[in-house]
């Protein structure tokens, strides 16, 4: 079976130790995480982990089983790239003097669809959100001018189809904790 990108979405109770439990499942199987993002979800008091891995579909199915087995995991899903809308965000910190010294950099910024987040006499910060290759393209264009700092977030994604998580929560009933 071919390896491909999978976005794993894990809905959990807000629990301190869960990050450890989930990452241990990958560690134990020598699976590298391409990225992992923890955030709030569309449901009150329910957390969401968005994990990207490059593995086979058979592997991802088994991982989902192991993840869902954790007591505080409500539900886990996996999706292929084409089933999701996904983005990453990057921040570029660049010396302000470059703006005045080098015309070309102004053109790069204009054509990049990036936002200028802040400008100070010493530096300015560019924010670029998009697919990995768009972020990387901007990186390659800016790098020759000299980057003071660069950082890129993990992938965040929503699925094209519905996530049936709310229904699942309802079905658990109100008697339980």
């Amino acid at each position: 079976m071919e390896k491909e990108n999978f976005t794993i979405s894990v809905y959990t109770e807000n629990n301190i130790g869960l990050l450890n439990r989930i990452s241990a499942i990958f560690l134990k199987r020598h699976i590298n995480l391409d990225s992992m993002t923890a955030s709030a979800s569309e449901i009150k008091d329910v957390f969401r982990f968005t994990i990207v891995v490059k593995i086979t579909e058979e592997q991802v199915k088994k991982l989902i089983g192991q993840i869902e087995k954790q007591i505080e995991v409500i539900k886990a899903f996996y999706h292929k790239d084409e089933e999701t809308i996904y983005q990453e965000t990057a921040l570029f910190k660049v010396a302000s003097k470059l703006l005045f010294e080098d015309r070309q950099i102004q053109n790069v910024i204009k054509n990049s669809n990036a936002n200028i987040v802040t400008v100070t006499p010493e530096f300015f910060v560019l924010e670029k959100t998009g697919r990995r290759r768009e972020v990387e393209a901007l990186y390659h264009k800016l790098e020759p001018f000299g980057l003071m700092q660069f950082v890129r977030s993990g992938r965040i994604a929503v699925t094209k189809d519905k996530m049936h998580i709310s229904k699942i929560l309802e079905s658990f009933g109100s008697e339980t904790v």
Binding site: T12, E13, N14, N15, G17, N20, R21, A24, K28, K61, K62, G65, Q66, E68, K69, I71, E72, V73, I74, L169, F172, G173, S174, E175, T176, V177
Partner: protein
């Protein structure tokens, strides 16, 4: 940990009692029906022990000689009683000594609640005396774990702990309680946990899966059952028997499924796996339908997965969704508790017999008897065999005893040859293979089934890993019968060295102490047997003894356990010599 108390949705208005967190721990245990716990005191758990002193009439505490012993004793108790075993220890080394027992309980699905003390919450993360991150350490080997830093969270967390430990596929749970939470005050109220929102203990059974499974069963010409511990944990022995008898399907067992079906049952065809019986291993690769019931296709069961039952359709009766397709792909997965699913499928399957197919098992049995079993049970050589000791125990106990085994050659011999009439009678460390398990587990097994004879079968290696628990036996006078099969070797490792490492016996020969003198030091009645003519009388004396008894049998040093599936080989490549 605010979330724990906040999420209780319907708190009834009931009169509460003011008490300390430490007292609340005891009261929670009592509310869960616990009357026996195993443990070892120390600094960070002292407030709880102080309360234990007050409640000693209601809650009996067994002081083991090492915290590992407390976990194995709790496991033994859980395995024979079907209840949750409870172990308690202090922080730091007390907690880390729990690790082996917790890992063992996790892989063998044993319901256990472990309570550890922890340094005061203001000291957490400061590398305080006897501080260790037991939550982090035990995370991958617990079904659930939780640290409590506030007294008022103790009842909710412990209620949840017991619920999680015993429900669904059972497992170990660890609750770590800081010293200030033990000293702190709370208004005590205990409500048993009835569910956890994010956790579905038992998955729903699709009616379609039952129909699909029944169709395969009714159409099969050469069906075979492999059942595991799920049958015992689900108390589905009667349902399994009814199913087997109606369908006439030969039934084999995994090491942890042993004793769920009486040894004498005509359709019981023996053990599968590395040292299992010849027939069921060979015929796994000839059956047209493999029914896996409450088992998980461990690698010691399947051998090489590439060549495992490839010709067969597979129906997997299972409670844990993560086990489906994990190792062996199921054509039909019947989710749910086997007690329920086996009962539901019974009316859908036809009454049947499979005489000629069953005869194939019998034919292999005859070959195995001739090549292996005869010499093991009735050896013609001078040296004593492990098998004849088991035969002697069978004769004395008539298959009514609980057999607790350690890990190694003697364990395989015990599981192959011990006879059972009742369920919950085979207590052994299956998945983890923990040497040192048997002696403390036997203590718990006897306390969990006080009316039954409990015989521990242990090798000379494993015996010395937890030998200090003789102190617990001496102090509690628990009448366990200890049989050490002494070959002065780490026998199973030696066997592998002989077969796969050109007889390079690296560090497997043991220079052993005088085990009789050690037993005498603990005032435990004891005998050493070196000659066959004395064996049966010694076993009879041991069984007749009212107190604990230690029997050492010096067996042939270099015997091997057969049949054997070499690692990585196919089940059908099982060797008889």
């Amino acid at each position: 940990m605010e979330t724990q108390t906040q999420t209780v949705k319907k708190q009834k208005v009931v009169a509460t009692e003011k008490m300390t967190g430490a007292e609340a721990v005891i009261r929670c245990l009592l509310a869960e029906g616990v009357d026996l716990i195993y443990g070892y005191p120390g600094g960070a758990i002292m407030p709880v022990y102080d309360e234990l002193y007050k409640y000693q009439d209601q809650l009996h505490h067994v002081l083991t000689r090492h915290e590992q012993g407390a976990t194995h004793a709790a496991q033994g108790y859980a395995r024979t009683s079907g209840r949750v075993g409870v172990a308690i220890a202090t922080s730091g080394p007390g907690a880390t000594n729990f690790v082996t027992g917790i890992a063992d309980a996790q892989i063998d699905s044993t319901p256990m609640v472990c309570i550890t003390g922890q340094v005061g919450s203001h000291l957490l993360g400061t590398d305080a005396f006897q501080e260790t991150d037991i939550i982090g350490i035990s995370m991958p080997i617990t079904k659930w774990n939780c640290q409590v830093t506030k007294a008022e969270d103790i009842p909710t967390v412990l209620a949840k702990a017991f619920y999680i430990a015993r429900s669904g596929r059972p497992g170990p749970v660890l609750v770590d309680i800081t010293k200030d939470a033990q000293f702190g005050e709370l208004d005590f109220i205990y409500e048993k946990c009835k569910g956890v929102r994010s956790y579905q203990a038992i998955p729903e059974t699709e009616p379609k899966s039952l129909e699909a499974a029944a169709k395969l069963i009714n159409g099969a010409k050469k069906p075979m059952i492999v059942f595991g511990q799920g049958v015992i944990l689900g108390e589905a022995e009667e349902e399994l028997k009814n199913f087997i008898e109606k369908t006439g399907i030969p039934a084999a067992w995994t090491i942890l499924g042993l004793s769920a079906l009486p040894t004498s049952h005509p359709l019981n065809v023996g053990m599968v796996g590395m040292h299992g019986n010849y027939g069921p291993n060979k015929l796994t690769n000839e059956c047209d339908l493999l029914l896996a019931i409450g088992m998980r296709f461990d690698d010691r069961v399947t051998g090489n997965l590439e060549t495992y039952a490839k010709q067969a359709k597979v129906v997997h009766f299972e409670i844990d969704p993560a086990e489906i397709d994990k190792n062996v792909k199921a054509d039909v997965a019947v989710m749910g508790d086997v007690k329920n699913t086996l009962a539901k499928i019974l009316p859908l399957v036809k009454s049947n017999t499979h005489d000629s197919w069953f005869q194939e098992f019998k034919d292999y049995d005859a070959i195995e008897y001739d090549k292996v079993i005869k010499d093991e049970l009735y050896p013609s050589k001078e040296g004593l065999s492990m098998g004849e000791v088991l035969r002697g125990i069978n004769e004395e106990t008539k298959g009514d005893a609980v057999i607790v085994s350690d890990v190694g050659q003697h364990q395989m011999i015990a599981c192959r040859y011990a006879e059972f009439t009742k369920s919950k009678s085979n207590v052994t460390s299956g998945g983890l293979g923990t040497m040192g398990f048997a002696l403390p587990a036997a203590i718990g097994a006897k306390m969990g089934a006080p009316d039954r004879e409990v015989v521990a079968i242990i090798g000379d290696g494993g015996y010395q890993m937890t030998i200090q628990e003789l102190g617990t036996i001496f102090q509690t006078k628990v009448p366990v019968k200890i049989v050490v099969l002494n070959n002065d070797f780490l026998g199973m490792v030696r066997q592998w060295q002989q077969l796969f490492f050109d007889k390079r016996y690296a560090s497997t020969e043991m220079v052993n102490p005088d085990f009789i003198k050690i037993a005498e030091g603990y005032h435990i009645k004891s005998t050493r047997i070196t000659k066959r003519e004395n064996l049966q009388d010694a076993i009879a004396e041991m069984i007749a003894c009212e107190g604990p008894y230690f029997l050492e049998v010096c067996v042939e040093k270099e015997n091997n356990v057969f049949p054997m599936i070499p690692t990585g080989a196919s089940v059908s490549d099982i060797r008889l010599e």
